[in-house]
Symmetry: C2
Subunit: 176 residues, 2 copies
Amino acid sequence: MRVLGVDPGLTRCGVGVVDGRPGRPGTLVFVDVVRTDPDLELGDRLLHLSRELTRHIAEHRPQEVAVERVFAQHNVRTVMGTAQAGAVAVLAAAQAGLPVRMYTPSEVKAAITGSGQADKRQMTAMVTRLLRLDSPPRPADAADALALAICHTWRGTAQSRLAAALAAQRNPGGRS
Amino acid sequence: MRVLGVDPGLTRCGVGVVDGRPGRPGTLVFVDVVRTDPDLELGDRLLHLSRELTRHIAEHRPQEVAVERVFAQHNVRTVMGTAQAGAVAVLAAAQAGLPVRMYTPSEVKAAITGSGQADKRQMTAMVTRLLRLDSPPRPADAADALALAICHTWRGTAQSRLAAALAAQRNPGGRS
């Protein structure tokens, strides 16, 4: 199963594509960070992000999408930007007819490292090891997007088959 | 100037179109509430909202868009839904090449009633009076979207002319 992981952010949005299946470490397909200029209007930032995500989906053809679920406990301004970027990612996936699953940061950490409290260094080390990379993924902050994708190849399968069947029923044309 | 006002929400998203200019009460063009089923997947809800907003923009051809700015002081779940719906609204406007201005609820209340603490009843009464409607707008909770649109016809002009000029410069094709 090929999965696109998205670590949403308005200024930096991590994007990672992984081929994998339950119990297997997975293979890196693509990793990048989509950046938008904080000096631009919000509409232009969301438009750029939407176009880039749509382009990555068309280019790498993931079958499913995993997006980080946002909580409101952090800085208000950051949370709003993250929620807005996340909405654009979920919308881009839905427009391509792809099922989306959302994971909290601690679900991803627990899946990848065994601990929901793992720090960034530990996560990056595990992503590097699991994908058998010679060095940590670049850009560094896209490691979270790869971790989301790996997590979903392991955990999403049963639920996402059901979601895919329902999506196909609602949207028989597939990628619309 | 024709303005689309959007009161974002995932379950109910208010949409109102008003023709108006500074110092004039304005004329109602269109009002509705876009609803999405809470039992659907988030992607399907955002997709429905995106399609409906895009359809309303194509049909009523507003020149500018006013969207309510979300704060994180309320219920976390509601705020996330509002931020996601707001992002879809801002994206739909940007995709149509329209400038977007965001207003806080108290800015709109102050513009319409003279008080940033006005209640819903007072807001609905003023919107009904300003647009010279025989009865309060239906659906009732779309009054906030009309209030946003009226507020923008009064307050947005100078800034939005600049924004429109910049948008045209960045996006010479107009509606893309």
